[in-house]
């Protein structure tokens, strides 16, 4: 088997295991990453929502915010894990396509 094939298999395994990145923090009651709190959390932490932060925080509406489908936030870990895996597949897929295109544009056709 070619090494590239083995690496793709490894990547697939990582995608399937990715919900661990959701489940473990939940299990160990770990909150948001430092500096990545939502506006409400910020209110709780420092007693106010910084004005600039409030304005900018809603600037961009990501289609799949935090690797979860909109409206699925309260549907429990199994569904969230499924959304996480689908997000990983989509993210990895798009990343591979974009990098391959850029790579093909940049790399010469002949092997140097």
């Amino acid at each position: 088997m070619k090494v590239a094939t083995k690496l793709w298999i490894g990547l697939t395994i990582l995608i399937i295991l990715s919900p661990l990145g959701l489940i473990l923090p939940e299990h160990f009651k770990a909150g948001s990453a430092w500096g990545e709190w939502g506006a409400e959390e910020m209110q709780g932490l420092v007693g106010y929502i910084p004005q600039g932060l409030e304005k900018l925080a809603g600037l961009w509406n990501a289609p799949i915010p935090d690797y979860a489908f909109k409206g699925w936030e309260d549907k429990g870990l199994p569904r969230l894990s499924l959304a996480y895996i689908i997000s990983a597949v989509a993210g990895v897929g798009i990343t591979v396509i974009v990098v391959s295109l850029i790579g093909k544009m940049l790399a010469g056709k002949e092997d140097r």
């Binding site: 793709w8 990547l11 923090p25 009651k29 909150g31 500096g35 910084p50 932060l53 990343t95």
Partner: protein, 226 residues
């Protein structure tokens, strides 16, 4: 380590976009000269690996979460400039599609994770591995140490960027406009958690994959060039 929208003021956001544009241009120019067509799939795998490894949030029980970036590994295998492009693509997709990292902070996040991290990691690896044989354990250790230190440098930079906001932007009443925590809180928090936990994840992931590549296709280990 993905700075969201609203944590950095416009000056900082603009500054890092302005810094990153020539870096991206230079990266394209250099990668155009050095990247071989047969390396493109590996570059795509590297970017995908970085994307997915950043989804593995590691908890500090009762505290916060963090993750590895995988960028040092890509830099060792393909060179820091190619790694810069690969991680940039992963970060931009995370920001636009998944709201992981702010759109206004793409410049800053790319500077920390797609520029400083792979370059620091690459050169630390080079210095420690020196001219040791491709299959040596010294290279595995060099990869781990490089991963650990580079992630911590990136975390420290992120902490610095968070920390200067309350100094740069304040309301007349003295309330912060953006990240409210100063350097005295942001720096130790970012460095502390990465030095204690997340840096080790980057170290182990980088070292293990290099060990695996040594066995499978040692030729890959010598192809990454600056």
């Amino acid at each position: 380590m993905h700075i969201p929208d609203g944590y950095l003021g416009p000056t900082t956001c603009g500054f890092f976009y302005v810094v990153m544009v020539p870096i991206w241009a230079l990266a394209s120019k250099i990668v155009k000269k050095t990247l071989k067509a047969k390396q493109v799939p590996l570059l795509a795998i590297g970017a995908a690996f970085s994307f997915v490894i950043m989804m593995f949030n590691v908890p500090i029980p009762g505290g916060t979460t963090g993750h590895a970036v995988g960028g040092v590994l890509v830099a060792i295998l393909l060179g820091p400039w190619a790694a810069c492009i690969a991680i940039t693509v992963a970060l931009v997709i995370q920001a636009l599609l998944f709201g992981d990292g702010g759109v206004t902070a793409i410049g800053a996040n790319c500077f920390n994770m797609a520029f400083v991290l792979p370059f620091a990691g690459y050169y630390i690896y080079k210095v420690i591995s020196h001219n040791s044989p491709v299959d040596s354990n010294r290279r595995v250790i060099a990869a781990g140490v490089a991963g650990y230190i580079a992630l911590n440098i990136a975390a420290a930079l992120t902490g610095f960027e968070f920390g200067i906001q309350s100094f740069l932007h304040k309301t007349a009443a003295g309330q912060a406009l953006y990240c409210p925590y100063g350097l005295n809180v942001a720096l130790p928090a970012m460095i502390g958690e990465h030095a204690l936990v997340f840096g080790w994840v980057e170290a182990i992931v980088t070292a293990l994959v290099i060990k695996y590549i040594q066995k499978q296709d040692p030729g890959l280990i010598t192809e990454g060039r600056a």
